[in-house]
């Protein structure tokens, strides 16, 4: 039963090797999706290219359904799988700051690494900026420490908050995503920018 490494106590070296292999797949699929282009990424916010929306939600839903089926078949122990811890304030404030960074810089950390790999100089500057930002946070940590640790709600799952089965929530999310894809594709038609799409 999975998750394989923590359950079977597999050594740290194997864990790191698998991290590298998973990273390979991650980088490959990001690049194939076209996430190595900042103008393509930013396209989502202007409606001329909603690739980000498509890839992001399709990936999240695929993994979500996969986990539900693996769990049903008894192949994975979901109590061991990491569920992100929820601190209300810091998640929202942090998310808002990241949002500003996204529209200003045109990347997020994962895609910037991927874009830097194929020679995008702006992505390399973005990575440099990220390091500066993290350093800044580390140096001024005492100012944010209270906010950072406020209102800890544990590894909260949305399905338990809404008091419904994981599968039902997944169905709702899938339906919502399909509506979003439909709206997005219509937007692509309306705001389409041939000139930009040719360049990226």
């Amino acid at each position: 039963m999975g998750p394989i490494i923590p359950v079977h106590g597999i050594s740290e070296e194997w864990n790191l090797l698998i991290a590298f292999l998973i990273g390979l797949g991650f980088g490959f699929s990001l690049e194939q999706a076209g996430f190595s282009s900042s103008r393509k990424l930013a396209g989502m916010f202007y409606g001329y290219d909603i690739t980000v929306l498509k890839v992001f939600f399709t990936a999240a839903i695929t993994a979500m359904l996969g986990l539900i089926f693996l769990n049903y078949l008894g192949w994975i122990d979901m109590s061991i799988v990491y569920v992100n811890q929820y601190y209300i304030q810091s998640a929202i404030v942090g998310g808002v700051i990241m949002g500003v960074g996204f529209i200003a810089g045109g990347f997020c950390p994962g895609t910037s690494v991927c874009a830097a790999a194929i020679g995008k100089i702006d992505a390399m500057f973005f990575i440099g900026g990220s390091l500066i930002g993290i350093l800044l946070f580390g140096e001024t940590y005492s100012l944010w420490e209270e906010l950072y640790n406020k209102n800890f709600l544990g590894s909260l799952k949305l399905s338990s908050v809404l008091n419904m089965k994981d599968g039902v929530l997944a169905l709702i999310i899938v339906l919502m995503a399909m509506v979003m894809f439909w709206i997005g594709e219509r937007a692509e038609k309306k705001f389409g920018r041939e000139d930009i799409m040719k360049e990226v």
């Binding site: 089926f69 049903y72 078949l73 008894g74």
Partner: protein
């Protein structure tokens, strides 16, 4: 027309996935999950729900043998060689096989035994964790039964309470 063909292909794809999922989940049928948590079973033992007293067993066996299912968990050889009259034989190694498991599903009182208590108690723990509530272990095991009930060997050293210290450990070690 082309669209309809695509739909058929897609529909059959979905059906194949669904069938595969159901198939895989059926294949795992021979996994019996534990329904009673370990701590609850431990409490049952502390509350004395583990044992069945041999004298009570003897009484109910002579009175009306149908009240209790007496189950010998040892091997068939041992069972043929020497067993309590009225017992049936289910080697504990095979207890989860379908034909034997069905013995435990009715509500009749079940008393299980091995030569000593401890193996029967281990199997009792498993059965109780699986949710069978009406199973008990013959206190003292077959050894006590043979010595005290069948042979009336009053002076023998067979003890009913297995967990009672049979020696004064401290005195034995430190000398007189």
């Amino acid at each position: 027309m082309k669209n309809r063909k695509n739909l058929v292909i897609l529909g059959s794809l979905v059906i194949v996935i669904a069938v595969a999922l159901i198939g895989v989940s059926l294949k795992q049928k021979n996994q019996t999950s534990i329904v009673v948590p370990a701590e609850k079973v431990r409490q049952m033992i502390s509350n004395g729900n583990l044992y069945y007293d041999p004298e009570d067993l003897q009484k109910s066996l002579t009175k009306n043998g149908n009240e209790i299912d007496l189950i010998d968990l040892r091997s068939p050889d041992q069972f043929l060689d020497n067993a309590i009259t009225g017992a049936i034989n289910i080697p504990f190694q095979r207890i989860l096989e379908d034909e034997y498991r069905s013995y435990f599903t009715d509500n009749k009182l079940k008393v299980i035994y091995t030569d000593q208590e401890s193996k029967a108690a281990e199997v009792w723990t498993l059965l109780t964790q699986m949710g069978y509530q009406n199973v008990y272990v013959l206190k003292g095991g077959l050894d006590y039964w043979k010595a005290k009930i069948e042979h009336q060997d009053i002076f023998g050293n067979a003890s009913l309470d297995n967990e009672k210290a049979r020696f004064d450990f401290k005195k034995e070690l430190e000398g007189e």
